[in-house]
């Protein structure tokens, strides 16, 4: 949809994910569209609980069996929604790699780094001998710039530093030369300096292997300079999607604006960071109309009643009733007490 890609790698259409809670289905993801091409990095941005991780996990069939997934996820002309687990398993870890937020808890503490990478290789290439796979694991650790890979390969995760663990995770995720890498908050648990290294590794892999990458994050600062396009997710929907430059230059959704002004900037001295007041609505307590309205400083009557559709505004797609006129909108100061987020349903 966003600038139609010729050789789209991943194409998500109207993806919906619902969980059964006490006999009711609550939708965590409500019709998300997303495209990723080869060699492209797409940022998926949202607060925790926005449904961004659930959406990507659902693409891979990694949500609980009780979850209801609808819509379409096409990957290299294969439909992933409704694909049997046995076939899905062949894609996971071979064509599509995934890494997670906390590299300490996402590596198995009782297995060596090497054996975990070897496992990833041999699950999909059973013809490779244990020895060959081990050599390959050393190469992979070298590829993600881990020093002394031949020694490190036989160590346990707790012997690695945080940044090294995450790079080891990346090595494992790309072990079978995937076409797509989904990185779920890969830098959140890391120190700022280490974050940069990990992002560097990801970009160099994209360049060398021609990977398509989905970078899930809650931090627009991570997105800047590291991705090509961005989709901002709020309460299970895409509220704004744009080229990264356009998004930063001319955001067309109040939520994106809020996120942008909460990024610390080096050239500005401010007393304290701006942040959006309130918290995202929990599942099952979604407000009527635009889900963001209780926290929105521009909210109007119509926002309480109608949920805005995603439409073109400037260089962005935005789901705001006032996407074209945000500049002229008066702001109410006292937006968003927590009481306004109470049950509407």
């Amino acid at each position: 949809m966003l600038k139609h890609q010729d050789k789209s790698l991943l194409s998500v259409r109207n993806l919906t994910v619902g969980f059964q809670v006490g006999g009711v289905t609550l939708d965590a993801v409500r019709g998300i569209d997303l495209d990723v091409a080869r060699g492209e990095v797409v940022g998926v941005v949202g607060e925790s609980g926005s449904g961004k991780s659930v959406a990507m996990l659902a693409c891979l069939g990694l949500v609980p069996r009780t979850a209801r997934v609808a819509g379409s996820v096409r990957f290299q002309d294969k439909e992933l929604v409704g694909m049997p687990q046995s076939e899905m398993r062949k894609l996971r870890g071979s064509r599509i790699g995934m890494i997670f937020q906390d590299p300490l808890s996402s590596l198995n503490p009782v297995l060596t780094i090497g054996s975990q990478i070897v496992e990833a290789i041999r699950l999909h290439q059973p013809g490779i001998s244990r020895k060959q796979a081990y050599d390959r694991a050393v190469e992979l650790l070298d590829l993600v710039s881990i020093p002394q890979p031949d020694r490190r390969v036989s160590q346990y995760p707790h012997e690695f530093s945080g940044g090294m663990r995450q790079r080891a995770m990346i090595a494992m995720a790309v072990a079978n030369g995937p076409d797509l890498l989904i990185a779920d908050e890969p830098t959140t648990a890391l120190d700022v300096t280490v974050q940069a290294q990990v992002l560097e590794v990801l970009k160099s892999l994209r360049d060398r292997l021609g990977l398509g990458i989905v970078l899930i994050t809650h931090d627009l600062g991570v997105v800047a300079g590291n991705v090509d396009r961005v989709a901002v997710i709020y309460s299970g929907r895409v509220v704004e999607a744009a080229e990264v430059g356009a998004l930063f230059r001319d955001p067309r959704h109040p939520y994106t604006r809020g996120l942008l002004s909460s990024i610390p900037k080096l050239d500005e001295k401010r007393e304290r960071l701006f942040s959006i007041e309130g918290t995202p609505p929990p599942l099952g307590r979604r407000p009527t109309g635009c889900a963001f309205h209780p926290r929105c400083i521009y909210a109007r009557e119509v926002c309480l009643k109608e949920e805005p559709a995603l439409r073109l505004a400037g260089a962005s797609l935005s789901a705001c009733h006032f996407a074209d006129s945000l500049e002229q909108m008066p702001v109410h100061q006292a937006a968003a007490g927590p009481e306004t987020t109470e049950v509407h349903q």
């Binding site: 969980f19 809670v21 609980g49 991780s53 997670f100």
Partner: protein, 279 residues
């Protein structure tokens, strides 16, 4: 943060679980039997009421034993031995153990160390073997078996109580400064009583079943109840001799199973109900 949302699972009164209910009902059944059996027992448990080794029939629902006594009647009467013995043993073990453990925790020092070493030594015996050795030394009889079991069981509670007292004393130091003097001891005891009853109650409930089991085991070996007492363990022992007349051992063994299972269910349910950590 990854996948599912947090899901409230259980409904309505959260503590009312099926195990708790089943356990309570089973135990209640046996208590009622123990209290009323004298009024409605089909036969005299000691009387020879029919042909020997009769298989189950309408007259004798669980058959007759080697002497021609009614197995069902004897099984029902058996609870009059099992439950009081278990009650006595658990109460005595809790009392002795709590007292000694409390002393060890409260005073510490040489007495405390001596008590705790005795606890360590006793707990390093396999319980069944120690109970057997003690019971054998004291000679057969249900009372002696009960004494043996108290000797095996008290250290568990001593350890439990000492731990609780130490923990409470730790916190106590802060509050003691406020209360001061004579109020301090009283405060300590109210605290101990209010905080210890939960773990003790859960443990004791579970132990009820284990004591019933061990008492029956000792009787089965011949170290507990003596004939012609209708005690479950010795009845199973009779049944073992007449192996092909399965009904002789069936009733008493099944009775043991229900009582022990009942207490285990009850203890399990109580733990879910009283111990916030399991939620």
């Amino acid at each position: 943060m990854a996948s599912s949302a947090s899901v409230p699972r259980r409904k309505a009164p959260e503590w009312l679980t099926i195990p708790l209910l089943v356990g309570a009902l089973v135990i209640l059944f046996w208590i009622v039997v123990a209290a009323t059996i004298d009024f409605w027992a089909p036969y005299d448990p000691l009387a020879l009421v029919g042909r020997r080794l009769q298989p189950p029939s309408m007259a004798h629902l669980l058959g007759t034993d080697a002497l021609g006594r009614d197995v069902l009647t004897r099984t029902l009467y058996g609870v009059q031995y099992s439950l009081p013995v278990a009650l006595g043993v658990v109460v005595a073990a809790v009392a002795i153990g709590s007292l000694l453990g409390g002393i060890a925790g409260f005073f510490g020092g040489l007495i405390g160390a001596a008590i705790m070493r005795l606890v360590d030594i006793t707990l390093s015996f396999p319980p069944v073997l120690l109970a057997m050795a003690v019971a054998a030394s004291l000679g057969p009889g249900l009372t002696n078996a009960a004494i043996a079991m108290v000797l095996v069981w008290w250290p568990v509670y001593a350890r439990l109580m000492r731990g609780q007292v130490l923990e409470i004393r730790e916190r106590e130091h802060v509050e003691a400064a406020v209360a001061g003097g004579a109020g301090r001891t009283r405060l300590l005891f109210t605290h101990i009583l209010s905080l210890c009853w939960t773990p003790v109650l859960i443990n004791a409930t579970m132990d009820f079943g284990q004591v019933v089991l061990l008492a029956a085991s000792l009787s089965f070996i011949g170290l507990g109840a003596t004939p012609p007492t209708p005690e479950w363990g010795s009845m199973v022992s009779d049944g073992a001799i007449h192996f092909y007349q399965w009904w002789i051992a069936f009733g008493p063994g099944f009775a043991i199973l229900t009582v022990v299972l009942g207490f285990n269910f009850l203890g399990d349910g109580l733990r879910d109900m009283l111990d916030p950590r399991t939620h």
